[in-house]
Every structure is written in C-alpha cells, then in structure tokens.
C-alpha cells in the first residue's frame, strides 16, 4: 500500500471491519429515521467514531474529516440539541455512501477520489454551526492517530512506571510509522527500537523488539518508555533515523491511566485540558484500537471467535481438496495392491484407509462450513438501496427480508449481490405501481417487496417477489416479435409462462435508465447469463395484477465443482460435469467432414467435434511447462491413436459439441485454484486443480471453449437434431 498506512494482511481485516460497520450504519440509519431510540443512536455514533479512528490510522484524511463532522452532528443529536430530520438522515446516508467510496480508495490504494468539502459543509449547516469543521479536526487528528495505537501496560509495568515517575523520570510514548515505500521498512522500526533501548527503558512496545528482529510487524511502532529525557530531547534523538514516514513523541507523565487496558479506562474521569494537542485526549476519551478489537456490536453475542483471513481459508480448502483427491488415489492403489497382501494386511490397510477417508471428509466439511457466511452480508445492503431507489422513482415500498441467516460459501457471497440488486431494482421499477395506480387498482398504497433466502439440496435459493402489476405477456410477446426473436405464429402458441420467460431474451428488457445506484442498467439477459455462468439458474413467475417473483438458484459454493477428468495426451483436463451429457468410444469411421469440420453422426444427429489438443495447440508448450509434462506426450495424444480415443459430448445452453480425448479418467469433485501467469492468459480455462497423483488438471471453461471453437471456425454451433 503506497497511499495508506496499511499492509495487505491488515487491509483484509480493515476492510472486513469497516464493511461491517458501514452495513450496520445502513441498517441503523433506516431505523433511526423511523424510531430513533438511544441505543440505535449510540451504535451509529460508535460506528462513525470507530471509522474515524480507522481512517486516521491508515492516513485517509478526508475520510477522517468527514467522519469527524458526522460524529459532531450526532453528538448534537445525542445531547438533544438537535433532532433527526429526513434532511439529516439524507445527509448521513450520503456520509456513509462517501465513506464507502473512501474505503474503495484504500482498497484500490489510490488517493482520495471525492472532494467532500461540500458535504462537510452540509453537515456543519445542519449543526447550525458557522465554524469550519475541517480546521477544527486538522488540529486534533495527529493525537487521534496516536491514540488509536496507544499500547496498554499491565500491572507490573505500572509498578515500573510509578517508581520511575517518583524518581523524576518522564513517561513518554513514541509512535512511529515506517515509510512503506522505502526498503525493508520494518528494519527502520527495529533501528528505532534499538535506539530507544540505548536511551530509555522500554516498558512495552508493539510490536516487540523480538518480533521486529523476525521481520514481523505492520509498519508502525508504538512504545511506552521511561527516560530522563524530556519529550523534545527524545524527539530530536530519534529524528536521525531514516525512512520513517511519521513519528510522534508524547509525554504521558501526568496521565499514565491512559495506558490502562480499555475496560478499566471507561468510566474513569480523566482531566481534559482544552484543545491542545499535547493532552492526547479527544473529546470522547475513548481509546479505539480499530485494527485489533472487533467492533462492539450489540446485535451479536460475544462469541469465542478468531478472525482469520479469507486467503488462509482458501488455502485450507485447497489443501483439504488435495487430501480428498489423494484419498481417492489411495483407494485405487489399495485396489491395485490388494492381491499382494494377506488377509490381515488387507483388513488393516482397508480399515486405516477407511478411517482416514472419513476424517478427510470431516476436515473437508468443517473447512467448508468455516467458509460459510450468512447471506445477511448481502441482504443488509438492501434496506438502504430500496430506500434510495424509491426516493429516485417516487415509489413507496416496504422491504420484507427473511432467511438472512441462510449460509453460503463466501465465493457465492461475492457473486450473488449484483444479480439480486438488478432484480430488486427491476421489481421496484417495473413491478410495483405508483401509489395512485395502486389505489386505483384497489391495492394498499404501500407496495411490498420481499427478499427471501433458503437453502435447498446443496443450492441457495433467493427469491425476490413484489406485489406489483405482474408481467404483461402481450407486451413481452409484441416486443419479442418486433425484435425478430420469434415469429407472430410462434408467439400465438406460447403459454403465459413461456411468454414471460422471454424477458430473459437479449435486448428485450434492457433498462434505459442510468442510475446512481447500480451504475448502468443492464437487461435481464445479462442477469441470466451471469447466473448461468455460475452454474445457477433464474426463473420468473408472475400473476397479472398480483405481482412477480424471481427465483435465483446458485450452488452453495463456487470453489468446488464436480468434473469429469479426461486425458489428452499426457495432459489432464477437467470438464464441468453438469455440461457432460455422454461419453462414447470414437469410431473413426463415423467421422464426417461437414464444411471442413469434423463431425460425428450419432443417433441420427450431427455432433460437431473438436480436439482439445488442437484448440490449445498454441498454448500447449505453456500448458506443458505449467503442468511439467513433456511435449512429446501431448503431441502423440493429439495426433494419432484414433482407435483408442473417446468423445465426450458436452452441452452448454442449446449448443452440443463433442471433444475428442485420449481417455476419460473418472468423475471427481475438484477445488478450483486460480491460474498464475502466463497460464492465466490461455483462453478457455477457468482454473487448475491439483490431482492426487501430483498432476495438474486444467479446468475447461465450457462457454469459452464453445466460442473458441466457433471463432476458430473449426466449428459452427450446431443444434443436435432431436430424434
């Protein structure tokens, strides 16, 4: 991270926590506007305060300024000097929206993208204050920064501090940040630590000297020391160290209690010494440690939990996947060897493998569960979105959310948000009528949109239902005819359900509005394509006059897919199982050339054939290098040996295609690993997986494979004639 004081591992925790805070803010702001109880207000205040501290500590100044302004405004509300108005709620929503953008700044490691001066003025205006908030914060932000990194001292440390203070030593706190763009920044902090050791007694430091020697730490150092030097002397002493981006020394001789652990501090009355930066006290006297402490959320009980990075879980998942493949391989070896063993050996080996196998399955399941998150993470966004969409469109809609506790793998969480958003938008935009229309139709003035999640047979099903006007089948049919998607005759024969399913056809539902919420509006065809790409489906049900519902179905995880493993030469490819329709032995005699392309006649239909080896010909060297196979093997398999070859028939949407492979190896659930450079440049692959025998299987992207085959003009998409 160049622009912000954050290492990548901290960044993960930072984003996760900041996101949680922003989501709780969304929820609570909606609640505040409705009821405005003190508990909600307090949560909002805490969230904003924590975000301010976090922004300060990573060095995003405008984020800190904006949060500070909002905090001051909320302070007024809390002291009953001001009350919550719609206008204030709007401004606070804008504040949260901007904080979100700032978070993206930090995520993208780019300088602040948005100028929030105007918004800060709006906030100040609401406070009825002419004073310039910005200049106000500027003077107290550095101590904020230090405060957020203030180490705590235990009892034995306090004994040393008290003795030292009695004998006239000073209690100083040093906070330094290494220049992360410099060379080996942590070494500079070690240098500072070593220098401190020479001139002072270190009571506590974070990270410790040992950790720094091991090269551990996050780019900053906070140390509490006793020394006979005064603050400015120590500051001068340490200013000689290179490549330190920022450092501060503060004298806490008169306020050692600030170093007590947090729970002891609250409730204590601390001396407030005006606005000077020397006191190190902010107006709240709350010491936040946003990088370490989990945010206090009244909604969740204090569980005994450990935070871990997603990357680590992904690694565990991959390792468990490898265990599974090795287990399968072990069974094969057992089969092969069993005739060499006597009865006792066989039983004992079999028992061991069986036990190991069940443990492997359990490990796999446990890790899988650890990766699960409630879909709440996505659903929490919606109260705010719905509110905003309604405001834009002048509609009145109540959102009913159910099943938010349903858990899915985080790979799905990352992908499912956009499709849901589009469907929600669509429901409000096209489904729910205006208040006047609803009243005229004898409906309640306020529309209802329900968002539900449930799990069903290894899938997550999300339904988005509105009680609006329903889909007008005639209108859809007319448009489809106008667009040339179907003929007039065909349109006459369609059932209501078939007709409304046409809204997923390209071009039929393209939204024309440009919205501030979801960016460019996209059509239903894009929604369906994206969902299908994730091996999911989306269907629509509608009753004219009563409403429309969409049902979105996705697998619980996108990290593991069932595949058919095949060999092409010595290269192993994994074909997604749902797309595999049939495997048969290739009879060279049945191959016909249709317009220069190889095709096979099966059961009266024509199946276009494609040779994987040819398709990846140009990349074969890279693939071989990647999987460390010899080139010779691949060529051998690619060319001759026709008689022993197999055809795997694949279907994707309504296209059928056969791929010629040397031999199928079997069915296997594989864990997708991302491909590294240069192999990730090879078109037609979604990822790789490590097989039990140590080989690497390349996972084929069926949709890309088909378009490659089509583009290469080796194949045109053919519909298999139905017998």
């Amino acid at each position: 991270m160049n622009h912000y004081d954050l290492t990548s591992d901290e960044a993960e925790v930072f984003f996760e926590e900041a996101n949680e805070l922003l989501e709780s803010l969304d929820r609570d702001l909606v609640g505040l506007e409705k009821s405005g109880d003190d508990a909600t207000l307090h949560r909002i205040f805490r969230a904003i305060h924590t975000l301010k501290g976090a922004a300060g500590s990573v060095g995003h100044d405008s984020m800190a300024l904006l949060a500070h302004a909002a905090e001051s405004l909320l302070e007024k509300v809390r002291n009953h000097e001001s009350s919550v108005s719609t206008q204030m709620a709007n401004v606070l929503f804008q504040v949260v929206e901007n904080l979100r953008i700032f978070l993206d700044d930090v995520l993208a490691d780019r300088p602040a993208q948005v100028d929030v001066a105007a918004l800060i003025e709006d906030v100040s205006a609401l406070m009825g204050m002419a004073q310039n908030v910005a200049s106000d914060v500027a003077s107290d932000s550095p101590p904020d920064q230090m405060l957020s990194h203030l180490p705590t001292v235990d009892d034995s440390g306090f004994v040393v501090i008290e003795d030292g203070l009695k004998s006239g030593l000073n209690l100083l706190v040093v906070y330094a940040e290494a220049d992360m763009t410099g060379i080996a920044p942590l070494a500079r902090l070690l240098q500072m630590y070593m220098h401190l050791e020479q001139v002072a007694q270190i009571i506590v430091s974070s990270p410790t000297g040992d950790a720094l020697e091991q090269g551990q730490g996050a780019g900053n150092l906070a140390a509490v020391v006793m020394t006979d030097m005064v603050r400015s002397e120590l500051e001068a002493e340490l200013s000689n160290i290179f490549e330190i981006a920022a450092f501060q020394v503060a004298d806490l001789s008169s306020a050692p209690q600030l170093l007590r652990p947090q729970e002891e501090k609250s409730g204590e009355v601390l001396p407030v010494a005006g606005e000077t930066t020397e006191t190190l006290l902010d107006d709240e006297q709350i010491v936040e440690r946003p990088m370490e402490a989990a945010p206090q959320r009244e909604t969740s009980p204090a569980l005994r939990t450990v935070r871990t990075s997603v990357e680590r879980l992904d690694n565990l998942m991959n390792l468990a996947g490898e265990l599974v493949t090795n287990r399968n391989r072990l069974f094969n070896i057992y089969e092969e060897l069993s005739h060499l063993l006597d009865e006792e050996q066989r039983t004992s080996l079999n028992d061991t493998i069986t036990h190991m196998s069940s443990v492997t399955d359990q490990i796999h399941d446990e890790i899988f569960k650890a990766r699960m998150q409630p879909i709440e993470f996505i659903f929490n966004k919606f109260p705010r979105f719905v509110r905003q969409i309604c405001q834009e469109m002048g509609k009145d809609v109540a959102l009913v959310v159910t099943g938010q506790e349903t858990e899915v793998d985080r790979s799905v969480i990352e992908q499912i948000g956009d499709p849901i958003l589009h469907l929600v938008r669509n429901g409000i935009d096209h489904g729910i009528e205006t208040v006047a229309e609803r009243l005229a139709a004898g409906k309640a003035a306020q529309g209802q949109l329900s968002l539900n999640a449930r799990s069903e047979e290894g899938n997550i099903v999300v339904s988005i239902a509105d009680d609006g006007r329903g889909v007008d089948a005639e209108k859809v049919k007319n448009k489809a005819v106008a667009l040339g998607l179907i003929t007039q005759e065909e349109s006459m024969q369609l059932s209501y359900h078939e007709a409304i399913d046409l809204i997923f056809a390209p071009g039929l539902s393209t939204a024309t509005e440009i919205s501030g919420i979801s960016g460019r509006g996209v059509g239903m065809d894009v929604v369906r394509n994206n969902v299908q790409r994730l091996s999911g489906s989306v269907v629509v049900h509608s009753v004219p006059g009563q409403g429309t519902s969409f049902e979105l179905r996705l697998p619980l995880t996108l990290a593991i897919i069932p595949t058919l493993l095949v060999e092409v030469g010595s290269q192993v490819f994994a074909l997604p199982l749902p797309n595999v329709t049939e495997i048969f032995k290739l009879d060279p005699a049945t191959i016909q050339y249709v317009r220069g392309r190889e095709t096979a006649y099966i059961r009266g239909g024509v199946l276009p054939l494609v040779r994987l080896a040819h398709l990846f010909e140009e990349d074969m060297a890279a693939l071989d290098d990647f999987t460390e196979r010899s080139k010779k093997g691949a060529e051998k398999g690619a060319g001759g040996d026709e008689a022993g070859a197999y055809v795997v028939s694949l279907s994707y949407r309504d296209v059928q295609m056969g791929v010629i492979v040397s031999r199928p190896l079997g069915k296997q659930d594989v864990v997708i690993k991302a491909l590294g450079y240069p192999i990730n440049k090879v078109q037609g692959l979604t990822g790789a997986t490590l097989l039990g025998d140590g080989r690497i299987g390349l996972i084929i992207d069926i949709s890309a494979l088909i378009s490659m085959a089509t583009e290469a003009n080796a194949i045109q998409s053919h519909r298999l004639a139905k017998a």
Binding site: I183, A621, D625, F626, G676, Y677, P678, N680
Partner: protein, 166 residues
C-alpha cells in the same frame, strides 16, 4: 521454470536502467532456448543461489556498454577499460540485486555471486540442460539481452511470482 521469473527481471531492469542511465526500456519477444549462446561483445554473468538457483546473463554490444557507463559516470567513457568493466558488472549486479529483493517479498530467499565479465564475441556459453528465457530489451542506447536460467529449489511448490507484473 525460468519464465516465472520474467516479471521480476523486467521490472528490475526497467527501474534500474531508468534510475542509473535514464533509459526507457521496451521489451521484445521472449524466447526459450536450450542451445549454446553466442553472446554479444560484453556479457555480465551472475550466479543466484538459495531458494532459487541458476545463472543470469546480461549481454550487449560494446557501444551500449560504453554509453551506459558514460551515463552512470556522468562523463564520456571512450574505452572499455577496467573502470568501464567494473561499471557494467555493477549494473548487472544492481539489477539482479533488485530482483532478489522482489523474490524475497514473494518468499524466496536467495543471494547472488560476485559478477563475472565475459568480453568478446565468438565464444560459446552454455547453461547445459537449463532452459533459458531470453528477453531482449531495447533502449535508445542499444539492445541488451537478459538470459535467465533459474530453477526453483525442488522442495517448493508452484511458483508464486505473479504479482510483479509489468
């Protein structure tokens, strides 16, 4: 696979040549070679040992070598004398040093030998059965060829060097 080390080298060469000789670098097509190489006039040879081991060669003609040394010294260098030789060897050393820093960030620790200079055309250099990735770099001063013949220590898994993209 040497190709995994391509980006660290490209980035290092780019930044070092920009800093030391103010040269803009464009990379040409990368090739994979196993046969002997006939170097240009001047070749700097460095060994890498550690988690990654092998040889790196920087080969160029004498005109480019002199032009670069002149830039580095801030004065015209007309003869390829021992000062110029030391300078060009140092340049190879610095580029490779920056590469090892990148590699260390990716978790591979290695160090580099003192550079060796091979002067004169017509010799044959061989990296034996090591495959070499050859990267031509063009600058306004001429073309330099980097030959990378490196292997990961076999106890390690898949390479993790994709983050230093150019």
């Amino acid at each position: 696979m040497s190709v995994n080390f391509l980006n660290p080298f490209l980035n290092a060469a780019k930044s070092v040549l920009a800093a030391e000789v103010g040269a803009q670098v464009n990379r040409g097509a990368v090739t994979l070679e196993t046969n002997c190489l006939t170097p240009q006039d001047v070749t700097v040879l460095l060994s890498v040992v550690g988690d990654i081991h092998g040889v790196v060669l920087y080969s160029m003609d004498i005109g480019m070598a002199l032009a670069m040394v002149s830039q580095m010294l801030g004065q015209e260098q007309e003869e390829f004398d021992d000062l110029a030789q030391s300078g060009i060897a140092e340049l190879g050393n610095v580029i490779t040093g920056v590469v090892t820093t990148y590699l260390a960030e990716a978790g591979y620790h290695c160090s580099i030998s003192v550079p060796t200079l091979v002067i004169g055309r017509g010799t044959l250099l061989s990296t034996l059965d090591f495959k070499r990735v050859v990267v031509p770099l063009s600058t306004e001063m001429g073309r330099m060829f980097i030959h990378i013949a490196l292997r990961e220590d076999s106890s390690r898994g898949l390479a993790r060097l994709t983050r230093h993209s150019m």
